[in-house]
């Protein structure tokens, strides 16, 4: 089988996999880019498409992609309920773009019947910037990560319209709209660190996984 055409290898040869076991939800989207970053940071990475694969990891990344497709497939293949249980049980989960939508308690502008897994006490608006012509890249100050600013790419991205009392905003655009949030072991960004070589959000997430594993 030839898989060499695809964009990123799952397990880079030069990484040492001594870190925690981290899964990437691989129903659709840029899961290989996340797997690559996590592998480079030393995590033991696997792709998750089935409930038993979720049982084998200590943390999970939900990638960028089309949230309505991830929602449908996760419910059709019996993954949605185990994912909700894992989130409720305290598993660290990081969602980018579609992943943030999946983690939001409340959605705006979802397709008919679309559900989220929930966990983050936020209201998230899907496609908040409009069409692809409005997709953009910019630099963001993220105090939790320090300097330099994060170079963030927004691809038909969502925004956090309101942040409930349980969640904490981590970054905002110049106009004040929130684009990164945290709540306990959950982390969500409207943008895609996995495609810009920005590793600090993944390090921040892996620290949550490590803290939970060693506890």
């Amino acid at each position: 089988m030839t898989t060499n055409l695809r964009s990123e290898s799952i397990a880079p040869d030069d990484a040492v996999h001594t870190g925690p076991r981290v899964g990437v939800l691989a129903l659709q989207g840029d899961f290989r880019e996340h797997a690559h970053v996590l592998g480079r940071l030393g995590a033991h990475v696997s792709l998750v498409r089935r409930p038993e694969e979720l049982d084998a990891v200590d943390g999970l990344v939900i990638p960028g992609g089309e949230s309505s497709v991830m929602d449908k497939l996760s419910r059709t293949f019996g993954l949605a309920e185990p994912l909700k249980e894992a989130i409720a049980g305290g598993m660290p989960v990081y969602g980018t773009c579609a992943g943030l939508i999946m983690l939001a308690d409340t959605l705006l502008d979802a397709i008919a019947g679309q559900q989220s897994l929930g966990g983050l006490d936020v209201v998230v608006r899907r496609n908040a910037f409009g069409s692809q012509n409005q997709s953009f890249e910019t630099d963001l100050e993220v105090p939790a990560l320090g300097e330099p600013p994060v170079h963030a790419v927004f691809i038909r991205g969502p925004v956090v319209e309101s942040v409930g009392p349980a969640a904490t905003p981590l970054a905002s655009l110049a106009d004040g709209r929130v684009v990164a949030v945290e709540q306990g072991n959950l982390l969500g960004t409207s943008f895609h660190p996995e495609i810009t070589g920005e590793y600090r959000f993944h390090e921040y997430f892996l620290a949550k996984v490590a803290a939970r594993v060693t506890r």
Partner: protein, 305 residues
């Protein structure tokens, strides 16, 4: 290669950069993009789990059957489809028809397909895709053609296959050809790469990049003749990042069921038990045409250069 991506200063934002254009294709990976000719079909596609829809006036099977010049769709139709769904909407412009592309950008489509399925408007030049804010996907039958399109600014490539046939053999041929040519580059020394660039008729810098990374610089989907869940899974096993399905869905007996089945088979492309399950009871597949029975002048894949 002209690289339009430059770092943006803090507080300002940049649209239409290579990273932003290629980024949307990255997010479509592992998904199915479906041809639709009405808002109702777009709704069915979104409900079935399409990652995007391709708006066009006639599906390739009808263009083939009816003949005549095939052009960009009516703006009213494209706007109706954009209004109907919230997933990305792509639309086709004729090869070289930069004004159709300007119109599609003005209509705010998410991706423009400079497509051999429509009648070419220019038999020499393709569109200068760097001049647009909206990203482009282009067809290719081999690596050299893919790299020429990327050099012109394409942010995504789809192998062409033979659209409107329901015969997957050309799609197989093109993805295997691109894969094999990439593998050959990987084993070459630097001095051999100069000759390879000449033979591929592609810029040396792009040839070197492919040789070093072992992949195209942009996402590669497969198109042209995919009609069943197993077809889609086979393309994924051959290394595709995702699948376009044109006539295969809405020319079949049960479009809703077939569309959902192709989506599931694309995600679980390496699990024959899932592919078997989703392939049951789908009704009739599109009747199709064997590519071997098509006279050479009627082969769409030979358009584009």
């Amino acid at each position: 290669m002209t690289e339009s991506s430059v770092p943006a200063p803090v507080g300002t934002s940049l649209t239409g950069s290579s990273r932003v254009k290629r980024g949307l294709a990255e997010m479509l990976k592992g998904g199915v993009i479906m041809d639709v000719v009405t808002a109702e079909q777009a709704r069915i596609a979104e409900d079935a789990g399409a990652v995007a829809v391709m708006a066009l006036e006639r599906v390739p099977a009808d263009i083939r059957a009816q003949g005549g010049v095939a052009r960009m769709s009516d703006p009213d139709l494209i706007e109706a489809i954009i209004a109907e769904v919230s997933i990305p909407v792509m639309a086709k412009a004729r090869i070289g028809h930069f004004v159709e592309a300007q119109v599609l950008q003005a209509l705010d489509v998410d991706y423009i397909d400079e497509s051999e399925v429509l009648s070419p408007a220019d038999y020499v030049n393709h569109i200068d895709k760097w001049a647009f804010n909206t990203p482009f996907v282009c067809g290719a039958t081999n690596l050299g053609e893919a790299l020429r399109r990327i050099n012109e600014g394409a942010a995504m490539i789809r192998s062409k296959g033979e659209a409107g046939t329901g015969d997957v053999s050309e799609a197989t041929k093109h993805i295997r050809k691109i894969s094999s040519e990439i593998n050959q580059l990987k084993s070459m020394t630097r001095d051999e790469l100069y000759v390879a660039a000449k033979e591929l008729q592609a810029p040396y810098e792009l040839v070197l990049e492919v040789a070093e990374t072992g992949k195209l610089p942009v996402v590669l989907f497969v198109a042209g003749g995919v009609a069943t869940p197993a077809d889609a899974a086979m393309m994924m096993q051959l290394g595709a990042d995702g699948v376009f399905v044109g006539s295969g869905i809405f020319k079949s007996g049960n479009p809703e069921a077939r569309a959902a089945a192709v989506v599931k088979a694309t995600t679980f492309y390496d699990d024959p038990s899932v592919i078997a399950d989703v392939s049951r009871g789908l009704g009739e597949a599109m009747v199709g045409i064997n590519v071997g029975d098509l006279a050479a002048p009627h082969r769409l894949a030979e358009r584009g250069w």
